[in-house]
Amino acid sequence: MYSVGVDIGGTFTDVVAIDGASGRMAMGKALTTPADLRRGVLDGLVEAAQGFGLELGALLAGAERMAHATTQSSNAVFAFSGAKTAVLATRGFGDTLVIMRATGRVAGLSVFERHHYRATDKPRLIADERDIFEIPERMDSRGRVVVALDEAAVRGVAREILRRGYQAVAVAYLFSHQNAAHERRTAELLAEEAPGVFVSISSEVAPVIGEYERSASALLNAYVGPVVAGYLARLERTLAEAGLKRRLLVVQANGGVTTTSQLVPIFTVESGPAAGVVGAAHLSRSLGQPDVIATDVGGTTFKVALIRGGEWGYARETVLNQYQLRLPMIDVASIGAGGGSIAWVDGRRLRVGPRSAAAEPGPACYGLGGTEPTVTDADLVLGYLTPERFLGGRMALHPDQARKAIASRVATPLFDGDVVAAAAAIRQVIDSQMADLIRKVTLERGYDPRDFAMMAYGGCGPAHAASYGADAGAVEIIIPFFATVHSAVGAALSDTRFSLRHSEPIVLPVDPAHLETIYAKLEQAGARQLAGADVPPERRSYRRWVEARFRRQVHLVRIEAPPSFCERSLAALEPAFGREYERLFGPGSALADAGIELVNYGVEAIGATDRPAFERAAPGGQPMPRTKRDAWCPRREEMVPTLIYDGPSLPPGSELTGPAVIEHPGTTIVALAGQRVRIDEWRHTHLLTHAGS
């Protein structure tokens, strides 16, 4: 029986299949096929099946679960290819989604970008004013009806929506997080009057306080809804025809899977990186390294997530196309830095990124017409990459093109024509940007990066981790054996997970029975969802959290909530909040006399999946280098003879010392001078830096 994971990226569609009995794993890596993504998925599946000596049909028939991380929702947002979407809003507040709290010009932009006053603007709106309809209705802050829902008005708007050819509608009324009755009734009326139109209500997508963010969440969900639902329905049908017997599971940004029929489409946004974090968390637990900084370097972005005690954290806010959303989403920070990041000279400064050559035209060394030097070009010039073995030999690299690009754009203006020095400088700048992000992410969350092990995956992570990891203070860097398809592994291992939320500001003290009622309701809703995903009761579990703040503060701190509320467990909540607050903001920062206000309540309803134990390989044998060539040594600031190893054939238990380059199909691990390397029994690579000493 197999567990299959699929992750579609911009360039490649990654597939892994894990045999539950033996723990053996096979991978497939196919080119992504934007015109019809199903083709790339099938190509990847065929390759993975071959790994077990099977036909596609046999693999699918033997698949116990199949989980898919999709980029469809992100693509629809970035390419503006979502549905024609209308919005229903409370009368008097229809402009909320256009006003964007006055922050729409700068949301999601760096300080650097914000200050280009003439170049910045609001995003291209997903719903213009003409698409927004005001409905007479109003709730107060406690969810009491102030103005009844004008049903006739809703019906009238519904007919207008049909007439104007809208494919989706977002309904977002004030205080619907306190009382969703008007939104729900509106959805019913829309279903009656405009059947076939996709309806998203804000109380379902983001039942939390803050009308702009809740409305934007519903809007984006409506916008991607028909696209995502249509794609998944087609894929599910295709896979069933090809032999899949199980329901297709979809990875969500919260790190868990759901079924296609229960999916809130916008929850799939950034599900690939989320799956990567799930994979990293699983690995961290199985390796006995509960505290891990997960880093993912692709072609265009560098992503960082923290895992503490084997658990990831959740983001408070998501920015999509400069809209600010509230989604249950793993906290993954990112900057524009990756293998395709372009190096450029600004005045007499060397800068790298955030612009990327992406896959088209790609780095200069791809020979696809790119003339600007990228990080990958620098890696090639520095001797870390083997031109004829790039991506497992699928693509030949052109060192002459890389040298030419670096020479003309960086070496000549800044380094007296010294191409190697220029390439080393490009690498140093990009690596320190990555290290800065790691530090920022850990410090902002109240941690010290030196207390963590690091994990590096994605196509370019293993080639740079030795530098940015050591720079950020990591003592140990773990590179998973399947680093290049790591997110697909995470998808295959994901639990079923539903994130339920409720907002209700309560200043302590409060009757614990009231809190228990809130959570019981959320857990009942979670149970229904899990049942809908065929999770049997013995596999269900619930984890509670609460977001609280000191009174009159706005920013919330999330802590775990007890599994049941009584006087005692409630009394323990206050000091727990104080501790977490001080951990985040420093000793003595807690304001004991201000009073604590509970604001948001959540339950993670989890359906545990069986995670196969990965196959262990017997240790033995000596690591034998494949070849030897000169590669850059940042310590000595020169090219030095460096041994090149073939990764898959390195025996478990083997140890070697940098400088060394270890090549895997799809990625290359760089170990710097003096760093030690150990291959463990699962064939993961452990890099030991000197940061601790």
């Binding site: 008097g92 006055a102 729409g104 200050h115 003409r130 005045g347 007499r348 060397l350 010294d418 410090l443």
Partner: protein, 593 residues
């Protein structure tokens, strides 16, 4: 390995870039700490705070900018601090100040500095500044519109050590907290500032441990020189000349006279001289600016007109000279009142943008809404607890030479955000009746100005008071090169009943339960002749309700079928011909107000 040593003496371009990134990351980290741990809405939701690192000599080196004006004025607060306390500074010290007559800008803005030492040597300062919700004075929020001298505006904090060698100055704390209305809020906000400064200290020391103290201090010098060099190159590329511009603050809330801000801006070689000598003398009301603020506004405006980005540090201030005589509204002398000086800052910015528009029409932005409005409501809440609600409201951008003005974005001089209705209503006895755009309020033009915002409040507490600070009621935001002015601002009481006009500056007016207050922000000015706007763009605006069909005809000369919105081309051509004939297109007026 050879690196270009000539570029930035003493430091190679890679180390330079790595340090720049590192210093920026520290400033960001500090700003993040403030917002996460502060208490008041002004700081947390309106983001009225900033954080920075400065050199031991008091030069700004890296900043996390929310309020650019606040930031660029940091050196003028730090320099007197160094002069006064320089010799006594020790690790663990933490200095505060707010007095505009000793480095501050207005009393609610409290600056805080932590000196950073390395091996016994002072190497830098971490600095924060935040607008506090109340620092005492005549009215809650400290923002009385009828203050005429600084003593009425709250507690003046001279340059003093709040912490000395790590020990809090309990007496100073007690004195401060005794003199403000919401002591626990101020205490929390001060601690938030201090946490941020300490993080700046810790992280800079980490950077020094890694790269060495000389590399880091040389890097700072190189950063300053780099920004200076870029700015000089940028200014050199601007057309030389003297550019004059005048705009007005409606009044100061005390006397009815308009207050002119007159600028003569000279661009000469690689220098800019902003001469405000002909501006109004100091006024009785509280809209007077310290010179530091006038300078900071000028720096920010010049930066907006540069093409290339550069690190916003003290280096870029060097080629820019600002002249404002003592005793003028732009260089206040003791004991002038300053609380509402934010309003004047916005107008200084409008004037600078206007003068720069003369020099560089292709980079110009027409007048914005004229600055954020402030609304303050206070009283007793149902639980008999005293409440104070204060918010700033950000509105419209003026049209740009290349694009329409933005409909609602925070002002160029700040990065505030508007308070969510749900947060307002959950926390305070106030109901929002309406929050939206006002049609036809964007200045007409080839590029349209951003629309006005309206915010309408119903007061739900038993009784209390209302304060408002608005402007642009009399002098509309100007349009450029034929573009029309933006819609005017207005304050109304009982807008759906008696509809009473309130003054632009409302000072402690009593409020009782159920009363409705309406505030309309001004709209942005337009750019270029309205009759040159593509009729299709006008139709799009009508579709979105931004422009009414009547205004399409009146302001843009576009005749539309009111139902189908089809353009009557013949009628439109006729209307536009008539409009064109009525103006001198060869010489469009620089601005219309």
């Amino acid at each position: 390995m050879k690196r270009d040593a000539a570029a930035t003496p003493g430091i190679d371009p890679v180390t330079f870039e790595v340090l720049r990134l590192g210093l920026d990351a520290i400033a960001d980290e500090m700003a993040y700490t403030i917002v996460r741990s502060a208490r008041s809405t002004m700081i947390k939701d309106c983001m009225d705070y900033s954080a920075s690192l400065c050199t031991a000599q008091g030069e700004l080196i890296a900043q996390a900018v929310n309020i650019p004006v606040m930031m660029c004025s940091t050196p003028d607060a730090l320099l007197p601090t160094i002069r006064k306390l320089g010799a006594t500074l020790a690790p663990g010290d933490c200095i505060i100040l707010s007095d505009p007559y000793e480095g501050g800008s207005h009393l609610p803005d409290i600056f805080m500095f932590v000196p950073i030492f390395w091996e016994g040597r002072l190497v830098a300062f971490s600095s924060t500044c935040a607008h506090h919700a109340d620092v005492g004075g005549m009215v809650p929020g400290s923002g009385s519109s009828d203050a005429t001298e600084i003593f009425q505006e709250g507690l003046r904090i001279p340059i003093l050590k709040l912490y000395e060698r790590g020990k809090p100055n309990a007496a100073l704390y007690e004195l401060i907290l005794r003199n403000v209305r919401f002591p626990s809020m101020l205490e929390g906000d001060l601690e938030a500032q201090r946490s941020a400064c300490l993080i700046g200290e810790r992280e800079l020391q980490r950077l020094i441990a890694r790269y060495g103290v000389d590399t880091v201090t040389n890097g700072m010098t190189a950063l300053l020189e780099y920004s200076e060099r870029i700015v000089r190159e940028e200014i050199r590329a601007m057309p030389d000349g003297v550019y004059e511009f005048t705009d007005y603050v409606d009044e100061d809330g005390m006397d009815p006279d308009p207050i002119p801000i007159r600028l003569s801006l000279e661009i000469r070689g690689d220098r800019v001289i902003a001469d405000f000598s002909q501006s109004a003398p100091q006024v009785r009301g509280s809209i007077n600016c310290s010179l530091s603020v006038t300078k900071a506004s000028t720096f920010t405006a010049v930066k907006c007109f540069c093409r290339r980005p550069f690190p916003p540090n003290s280096g870029f201030f060097r080629p820019i000279e600002v002249i404002a005589p003592e005793g003028s509204v732009l260089n206040v002398t003791f004991p002038g009142a300053t609380f509402m000086r934010g309003l004047t800052i916005y107008r200084i910015n409008n004037v600078l943008f206007g003068a720069l528009a003369r020099a560089m029409p292709e980079r110009a932005i027409a007048a914005d809404e004229g600055g954020t409005s402030i609304v303050v409501m206070e009283g007793l809440a149902a639980d008999n607890e005293r409440f104070l609600y204060m918010e700033t409201i950000s509105g419209a951008w003026g049209a740009r030479a290349t694009a329409d003005g933005i409909d609602c974005a925070s002002n160029v001089t700040g990065l505030q955000s508007n308070t969510p209705v749900e947060v307002l209503e959950t926390e305070y006895p106030v109901e929002m009746v309406q929050y939206g755009f006002v049609p036809d309020s964007g200045g007409a033009g080839r590029h349209r100005g951003g629309l006005s915002l309206v915010r309408e409040y119903r007061y739900l507490a038993e009784r209390g008071t209302l304060q408002m600070r608005a402007d642009r009621v009399r002098f509309a935001p100007y349009g450029l090169y034929g573009g029309g002015p933006g819609g005017r601002s207005a304050n109304r009481l009982d807008p759906h009943g008696k509809d009473i006009a309130l003054a632009a500056k409302v000072k402690g007016r009593p409020l009782t339960r159920g009363e409705v207050v309406r505030h309309v922000l001004a709209g942005g000015g337009g750019y270029g002749w309205p009759f040159e706007r593509e009729p299709a763009a006008v139709v799009e605006d009508v579709r979105d309700g931004k422009v009414t069909p009547a205004a399409a005809r009146r302001d843009y000369g576009v005749a539309l079928d009111p139902t189908t919105l089809a353009v009557d081309e013949a009628e439109t051509a006729r209307l536009r011909e008539a409009m064109r004939a009525g103006v001198n297109t060869a010489d469009p007026p620089l601005f219309t107000q």
